[in-house]
Amino acid sequence: MRSERDEQFHRFVVSRRSGLVRTATLLTAGDAHLAEDLVQSTLTKLYVAWPAFQRADNPDGYLRRVLVNALTDERRRWWRRREESMADVPDLPAAEQAAHGELADGLRAALRQLPPRMRAALVFRYFYDLDVADTADALGCSEGTVKSQTARALDRLRVVIGPSLSTAHS
């Protein structure tokens, strides 16, 4: 029997999971399997902290923090990722295989060379158009750190992709 929390969470998953998978795919530099792990981990954390999430002044900001922390947590289990064994749950990546073109491959390779939090800063700033303050909030760091991290991330991307890299914020 489902509780009110269960019902709310289920509705949340149905409405937001696809977006989470997209974000997670970027945060994991296009690793669909790791992205699915990240989404599962994020949603699990969210369910456990559901009352706090419901009370949050900025639910989207809360969600981003949980996502980033789950991303960081993946490093915690650096020997392997432990899976909870679940009956009858297909362990398949939900994300479609992303574009295989030369550009996508180059970007994927470039992103993989970035530390996860630097990658997250880049994604939040240049894909989701978050301002520096919201990005800093998601990453739990100072605004100055966001600026320096994104600048370094762009520099490193340009090394791989080339000087033609264009951003909406440059």
Partner: protein
């Protein structure tokens, strides 16, 4: 010109709408995690009562110092017999219950066995606090035995690695066995792994988070007292 945003959008892909099965599975995972948390909180609360009672007895009873530490699984660590070692790394006898896959003769002073299952054993500094997912963790150990940040983790090498050691193994002697230190590829800054050869051919794996500052010699000294029990199980992945 293709902008970075366009490229990121391509990379993000277009995941379809979640299926009911997926949403149900997410819900099941969440509920299971919440149940585990409540059980752990309950066990920690009970253990705290035991620890307080033990401390009270200790205060009212003359004799040699005795310490107890709460354990999530209801086991207790009694660190009593200090042995030779460096000032910062005194290995002390571990006398707590060790019912699962691994056991250990000694632990460094100030450390405790945080959890032991058939799949792994985690050692953490005494007094680790619960992880707050809203606060960046950095290298600080938390009370979740399944997290290895800031800790030492003991396990068997993954069945999927077929005994092959990644990276460039550095041979050492661990007690009467052969060991190899390995820095796993792609884990820069995360830690170092010591593999210890076992008679059955399945390597014992001891992973040490970089931030905790154990030297290779100290890791070897600790590893010499680690035992793989018959019910230990290899993980996958």
């Amino acid at each position: 010109m293709t902008t970075l945003r366009d490229q990121l959008a391509d990379l993000a892909g277009s995941p379809g709408e979640p299926t009911t099965v997926q949403a149900d599975a997410d819900l099941a995972r969440g509920r299971a995690a919440l149940r585990r948390r409540r059980v752990l909180q309950s066990a920690a609360g009970s253990a705290l009562v035991v620890a307080v009672a033990a401390a009270t007895v200790g205060l009212t009873t003359a004799g040699r110092p005795t310490g107890t530490a709460p354990q999530a699984g209801g086991t207790t660590v009694a660190a009593t017999t200090a042995t030779a070692g460096t000032a910062a790394f005194d290995l002390v006898s571990y006398t707590g219950k060790q019912p699962a896959g691994f056991s250990v003769d000694k632990v460094p002073a100030g450390w405790e066995v945080q959890g032991v299952t058939e799949g792994f054993m985690t050692l953490a500094p005494v007094g680790a606090k619960p992880h707050n997912s809203a606060v960046p963790q950095g290298d600080v150990a938390d009370s979740d035995a399944a997290s290895f940040v800031g800790k030492v983790a003991v396990m068997l090498q993954s069945v999927d690695e077929h005994g092959e050691m990644p990276g460039k193994p550095e041979r050492v002697t661990v007690g009467d066995r052969t060991g190899f230190f390995v820095k796993r590829p792609g884990t820069t800054g995360d830690g170092v792994t010591l593999f210890v050869k076992q008679p059955n051919g399945i390597n014992l794996e001891i992973q040490v988070w970089d931030g905790i500052g154990w030297t290779h010699d100290q890791i070897v000294a600790f590893a010499a007292g680690v035992h793989v029990n018959p019910n230990a199980k290899q993980g996958r992945g």
